[in-house]
Amino acid sequence: MLKEYKTVSSVAGPLMMVQNVDGAKYGHIVDIELGDGSIRHGQILQVEGDNVLVQVFEGTQGVDLDETKIRLLGKPSELSVSPDILGRVFSGVGIPIDNGPAIIPDAKMDVNGNPINPYSRDFPNEFIQTGISTIDGLNPLVRGQKLPIFSGAGLPHDEIAAQLARQATVLGEGEEFAVVFAAMGITFEAAQFFIDDLTKTGAIERSVMFINLANDPAIERIATPRFALTAAEYLAFERGMQVLVILNDMTNYCEALREISAARKEVPGRRGYPGYLYTDLATLYERAGRIKGNRGSITMVPVLTMPEDDKTHPVPDLTGYITEGQIILSRSLDRKSIAPPVDVLPSLSRLKDKGIGEGKTREDHADLYNQLYAAYAKGKESQELATILGEGALSEEDAKYMKFADEFELRYISQGFTENRTIEQTLDLGWELLSVFDDTELKRIDVDLIAKYMPKFRKNNGTSD
């Protein structure tokens, strides 16, 4: 039988010290039974001799030293998996909360996962069409990529995440698609918005939700993405599905981690976050990917809010160091009612070059985005100059680039949260916007491509748009 201990010696914050414990193992989970018979869940953070340090997911409120019992479960956290998890809603620690039947498991998987052997990875190179021009045209997403959204309080990251979940498709294929959604400390409304959106399109049947809301126990959030990613690994690598994982909001996750670290009196790193935050985040984010000889894939979109819109804050900073690019939202575009307000210049998809070009999107794609970037960057500078000196003071060239930047924002970036553009539409729109420049100014585009795709030449050639 499970060993039971009534030897809690101290409680501090989310942590509990238990004495005289025999056979405790690092990282294993425990059940905690309070005096009133209610059960909480914990994980062993450290064992020293027969003293055990336990982190309590539901918090320690109401725990008393005399009555509380601890049972060692002798295993790490596990998720019961089977195809029936699709369409289900779980708590942040993997307990069904939708009144549905218990999951009859095919297997129980350790939620900590194991690192993917780098040798066994298959390079992500299949273009995912999201229907969003700033992503497809300029920062293409590929299957198996991890591409976060850096947002700020009050910016429409939930809408973009929902748009991605709704529109993302791999061109020309009818493979099985699933969405895994992990909510960490977000509001009921934000979670419900997402659920409703998936319900409307019927995608909910192919989704798995792990929900920890703002008023749920904070420490639970440390477990939530691990449960979600375990479900994703099961669906992708055991069942061959194309899985999109949305983790929202990673800032709340990191705060929970900081709380534990502070309670353990660890030497704090930047802004009080623990020194191992990078490693901890990496063990989550690196679970995205593709592996050799397996049809399935995990594509990951972590969402995080940057405190004070600061990209150098540890959470976005360390995320950016691990993920394969970032989509950054801009408050100033949002104010101009440009949606989705993607800040094009600092956004980046590191895997873009692998997923585009002839046979994938179109041969002109790479040159085109380079040119659009360069022109928009120049146009932004002109916009800034105009705000300082006034538009009248701009040189002819600056004025032209400024006009381009304005048009680019209004037509290319701005498309709303429901318009679903094909990649051809996105590319052609890029050419159309560039047509205000002399061909010789388009230094980043191969001359042959200009001759083939520039609208004026296309009409001459009689080719369709």
Binding site: Y26, Y119, V267, R270, Y276, T279, D317
Partner: protein, 586 residues
């Protein structure tokens, strides 16, 4: 083994385990931990208590479980079979682990670094009866089409060679014996083991005497790295550290490249694994992978093995240096190594210095880079080897006051400063030409076969750099008082500086041709741009409007010069004539 005693775990805190009853243990001994038989290394000793950093995940490990000391320090296996391998931080071959365990890394499997079954064709280069000492080359194995592996007498062995002969052998088959003067006999195999935490011996340190050509224009032209030199690439995320490292791994003028993916992305290692075999060495036309050893301890792999990975890598690199080769080592990223150090130190409850890093951070970084250098190798025949180190640094928030950046700048001789401003403008490589530096500039000349060309290039480099500096000043003036304040001659300077930036320094790593530029092509390109400068100045003096000069077709030809293949280089030189004739028509 019995005298070493078997210890018992008393504490588990993440990657650090404490065991008691470890009498006889030495620092850096490798141990096997717990019932799962995990691999670990002793990093602190206190009476019979040993603190152990464990190279595999410790979930499920608890007090009372056994710890067995192997009595040997953390070592790598050196011999034929290293080239084209991919190892984790403690030299476990990841391809073999994959065959054994599948896609996800399991625990407790200690696979040897070198294949025990593969036979290599060995050719002796000394005769029986020859007197040899440590470091002497006694034979060769053609390991790959690009690498002739030299078999050397291990350290601490000398005497008379006996029983050596050509043949096909596995790495642990005896290929000869060496009989010492005292009559003791050592068996020699192609494989030797070498502890990783200290430098491999050499005869003498030598100063750099040459630059290493990398084919990257901003690096070779302005901030070259010396043979046996050290360089660092700090920058915020997304500024191009990894692309710089990959570009160097591909194109640097080295015989062997050791690439350490230290706590970074898994997909970047896959990228190397899939892309390198397709790339051809610009000189020999052979696949580039045939000179590369990969160490991949990605960010999700155990943090203690990440700490070890740089030592594993550099010891392998030194081994090739000792054969008389030019070796380049890239570590991406040294910050992740430092963070691993910090995490272990925290768990050891050591007193932290700045930013929680241990007080010995600076010393560790310095002694790592000190293992670079050009050396006279140990043993006969006389030969020189070199090891250059290029480390990426990932400062939090891009802040260069970070401890790891500062400790690194203290010791390295080249600083490639990546700026997010440039990266955002998609000016790649985003190496800032004004704040970067190199102490090896004078050695670039040695890389030219043609000495006249070398001297001319030297002058052009100085001229180009002063134009870039002038540009910064002029732009400041424009910002303050407007473009009208600039003289016509200065407008030419501005335009030429822009051309240097956009047409010369800007280099697309992913363009088939642009990815690599030979020194001669660099010379030719720069010469054309500076010719435009000279002719432009003459023209404004003769009363021609700068705006008209900027419209000549040759301007666009300059912009596209980088895409002209090496074989058609005369087309670039020809642009100078176009400049002359087109300006003459104005």
């Amino acid at each position: 083994m019995s005298e070493l005693g078997q210890g018992k775990i008393v504490k588990v805190a993440g990657p650090v385990v404490v065991a008691q009853g470890m009498s006889g243990a030495k620092m850096y001994d490798v141990v096997r931990v717990g019932e799962a038989n995990l691999i670990g290394e002793i990093v602190e000793l206190n009476n019979d208590m040993a603190s152990i950093q464990v190279y595999e995940g410790t979930v499920g490990v608890g007090p009372g479980e056994p710890v067995i000391n192997t009595g040997a320090p953390l070592s790598v296996e050196l011999g034929p079979g290293l080239i084209s391998s991919i190892y984790d931080g403690i030299q476990r071959p990841l391809d073999k682990l994959y065959a054994l365990e599948g896609s996800f890394i399991q625990r407790g499997n200690a696979l040897p670094g070198l294949d025990r079954d593969k036979k290599w064709p060995f050719k002796a280069t000394v005769e029986n009866g020859a007197k040899v000492t440590a470091g002497d080359i006694i034979g060769e194995v053609q390991e790959s089409s690009l690498l002739l592996h030299k078999i050397m007498v291990p350290l601490g062995v000398e005497g008379t060679i006996e029983g050596i002969k050509d043949g096909e052998y596995t790495v642990d088959t005896p290929i000869a014996t060496i009989k010492a003067d005292d009559g003791s006999v050592s068996e020699i195999k192609m494989m030797q083991k070498c502890p990783v935490r200290s430098q491999r011996a050499s005869k003498q340190r030598l100063a750099p005497d040459k630059a290493m050509v990398t084919g990257q224009r901003v690096i070779d032209t302005f901030f070259p790295i010396g043979v046996g030199g050290t360089a660092c690439v700090p920058g915020p995320f997304g500024t191009g550290k990894t692309v710089v490292q990959h570009q160097l791994a591909k194109w640097i003028d080295a015989d062997v490249v050791v690439y350490i993916g230290c706590g970074e992305r898994g997909n970047e290692m896959t990228d190397v694994l899939t892309e390198f075999p397709e790339l051809k060495d610009p000189k020999s036309g052979k696949p580039l992978m045939e000179r590369v050893v990969l160490i991949a301890n990605t960010s999700d792999m155990p943090v203690a093995a990440r700490e070890a990975s740089v030592y594993t890598g550099i010891t392998i690199a030194e081994y090739f240096r000792d054969m008389g080769y030019r070796v380049a080592l890239m570590a991406d990223s040294t910050s992740r190594w430092a963070e691993a150090m910090r995490e272990i130190s925290t768990r050891l409850e050591e007193m932290p210095a700045e930013e929680g890093y241990p007080a010995y951070l600076g010393a560790r970084i310095a002694s790592f880079y000190e293992r670079a250098g050009r050396v006279a190798c140990l043993g006969a025949p006389d030969r020189e080897g070199a090891l250059s180190i290029i480390g990426a640094v990932s400062p939090p928030g891009g802040d260069l006051s970070d401890s790891v950046v500062q400790a690194t700048l203290h010791v390295v001789k080249v600083f490639w400063s990546l700026q997010s401003r440039l990266a955002q403008q998609r000016h790649f490589p985003a190496i800032d030409w004004l704040t970067s530096y190199s102490f090896y500039k004078q050695y670039l000349q040695e890389c030219f076969e043609d000495k006249v060309m070398a001297a001319e290039m030297d002058g052009m480099i100085k001229e180009a750099m002063s134009l870039l500096e002038k540009e910064a000043d002029l732009l400041e003036i424009v910002r303050l008082v407007g473009a009208e304040a600039i003289s016509k001659a200065d407008q030419i300077s501005l335009a030429v500086a822009k051309s240097i930036r956009e047409d010369y320094l800007h280099q697309n790593a992913f363009h088939e041709v642009d990815t690599y530029t030979s020194l001669e092509k660099q010379y030719t390109m720069l010469k054309v741009i500076l010719h435009l400068y000279k002719k432009g100045l003459e023209a404004v003096e003769a009363g021609i409007e700068p705006a008209d000069i900027f419209k000549i077709d040759a301007m666009e030809a300059i912009a596209r010069a980088k895409y002209i293949p090496e074989a058609e280089m005369s087309k670039i030189a020809d642009i100078a004539n176009q400049i002359d004739s087109q300006i003459a028509k104005l």
